[in-house]
Symmetry: C2
Subunit: 337 residues, 2 copies
């Protein structure tokens, strides 16, 4: 006789409570709990004092973080896990904590608060003040918040360029944001010139980063909408990172045709996207990203490789390669002119 | 040589995005997606029509629900899982979907929106309008929303009473809410008389349920705060469900002394609580509940059995038994006068 576990609504209960976990990690980053623990504060009392918070609040918060896997608790002492030491201690070079400033920003969460109406009408109910508005301060938050999260992908894009190290390269970085994709190429290719397109307020962040990473002399700015500005021409590489998913297919194709026209012969587009499988329900992070676009844009989506390939081909590109990037939720698509 | 997986910020990314999952399941229940699928609508188009929503929105929502494990997707058709059929189809007697109306209500979520300040000050920043206010409409939402979720616990409490079936029983149901705990005892014990304490607006819900379950003639009301009203005396059973966690220990002990005085000799208190282990970080659901109390109350907590035992002993109880209830996150504490 086969034993079957009794059905429980645990998954439902965990899911309706999941917002509490987001709130807890946001609070932990805002109070810099991980940094203070990394500095040697291990008890609730010591962490509370270092964070200028209450012992009771810190005890409950740190217990929650331990349940969630962000801390190890032993004998009433809290310690960082290997992962939180690497990514959530502000002293770590791989710190990604500031991603909360974008992913949990009011503009992002508001779309989810009204998700029911977004499903009803088939698109975001907050798009006018949302992601597609010109000069939206949201993209400054993206630029400041997401640079840490994007570092590994930036390294992988630069590593997949496939040009000789000394080659002169003209690189267009569309919707550059923090600028790290172009900046990383400029670091790897000493003769690369980067042209970064974005709103003026966002490009200030990219410029700061270009200075910080020592490539400012080869980092040039093109201010405005990627749909409107004149790119110039003869680019060897166009970086199209985290951009296509905001738009419907015709809009994407229009942009891709413009990009095609700006490329030199033999030029290529490096597209970074959440690319779900054809079933659209795997892998998990890639597939879930569609929902972010439903909540936040009028008609964006997480496109499958088949869909991306068709858009690129319709825009005149001859060959498209799909390169998953290890454990990253985003994938690389390399498209040849 | 040992292979170690590279560190990734995936847990962090999943956690800062977790609120999106809560939003998705809330929307699915609000649009009754599970019920419509259960009725035979399997494609995005059919579900959209049945839910009066857009195909695009439903497709993206149902893909997300499939990723999260609430739906099975095969050949572009969505089907209920065994679990969602049992708990999220409104036609199922075990439907628990309306729990969103309490757990994701603005009063509940507001505390989490300001969790950082709750950690700073050691208690909820919204308590005045929150859980402890008299006649708070929040408790009507609790009563209406949580009855399905509480059915299994109600059955288990009634099953653990340990009295002869024909015995006359006088039962006090403190903070009765939906009333299901007392009602279930009244169903099992034909000679039980239930006295339900709660705010008047909440007791209306309990009365509706007592009528629905055919025990209204033995279901009596005591309107007001459990701290203030006169309970009467000679109770065989006091039900203390989901209540102690809202208060600090001295307040709990004050209440327990009052309860002790209302019990007949040989009477017992049946307490239903989230009871974490002494380490306070396991089991997960029990341990995470402290955070809900930090966000929503001035000084509540998820108490360990050792803490509960001490409170009951200080209030004059002679023996306390800790009974975990299978897979339920809540445990039963039986305390003898």
């Amino acid at each position: 006789m086969q034993q079957t576990a009794p059905l429980t609504p645990q998954l439902f209960f965990d899911t309706i409570s999941a917002f509490q976990r987001s709130a807890a990690i946001k609070t932990a980053v805002e109070l810099d709990v991980f940094t203070r623990i990394g500095e040697g504060n291990k008890t609730a009392e010591a962490i509370a004092e270092a964070c200028d918070a209450s012992t009771r609040g810190v005890r409950i918060l740190c217990d929650s973080l331990s349940v969630m896997g962000f801390l190890d608790k032993q004998n009433n002492q809290y310690d960082l896990t290997e992962t939180s030491a690497a990514f959530l201690n502000r002293h770590s070079p791989a710190f990604v904590g500031s991603a909360i400033e974008f992913i949990m920003s009011p503009v992002q969460t508001r779309g989810f608060e009204d998700l029911t109406n977004a499903v009803r009408q088939g698109g975001s109910t907050v798009s006018e003040e949302g992601s597609l508005a010109p000069d939206s301060p949201m993209w400054v938050k993206f630029a400041r918040g997401m640079i840490g999260m994007m570092m590994p992908a930036a390294q992988m894009i630069a590593g997949n360029l496939g040009f000789e190290p000394e080659r002169k390269l003209k690189v267009l970085d569309i919707a550059a944001g923090h600028g790290i994709f172009g900046i990383t190429i400029a670091q790897k290719y000493q003769n690369a010139e980067i042209y970064a397109v974005d709103w003026a307020n966002v490009l200030q962040v990219a410029t700061e980063n270009a200075q910080k990473f020592g490539v400012a002399a080869r980092h040039h700015l093109i201010e405005g909408s990627a749909f409107d500005v004149n790119y110039g021409e003869d680019y060897d590489v166009v970086l199209l990172t985290n951009f296509l998913h905001h738009f419907d297919k015709p809009t994407c194709e229009t942009l891709l045709r413009k990009i095609h026209g700006s490329l030199a012969d033999g030029g290529k587009v490096m597209t970074l996207e959440f690319v779900p499988n054809d079933d659209r329900v795997s892998p998990p992070s890639e597939a879930m990203f569609s929902l972010v676009m439903l909540a936040g844009t009028p008609a964006g989506d997480a496109y499958t490789f088949a869909e991306l390939k068709e858009m690129f081909e319709n825009a005149g590109f001859s060959r498209n390669e799909h390169i998953p990037l290890g454990s990253l939720p985003q994938h690389l698509i390399v498209s040849m002119k």
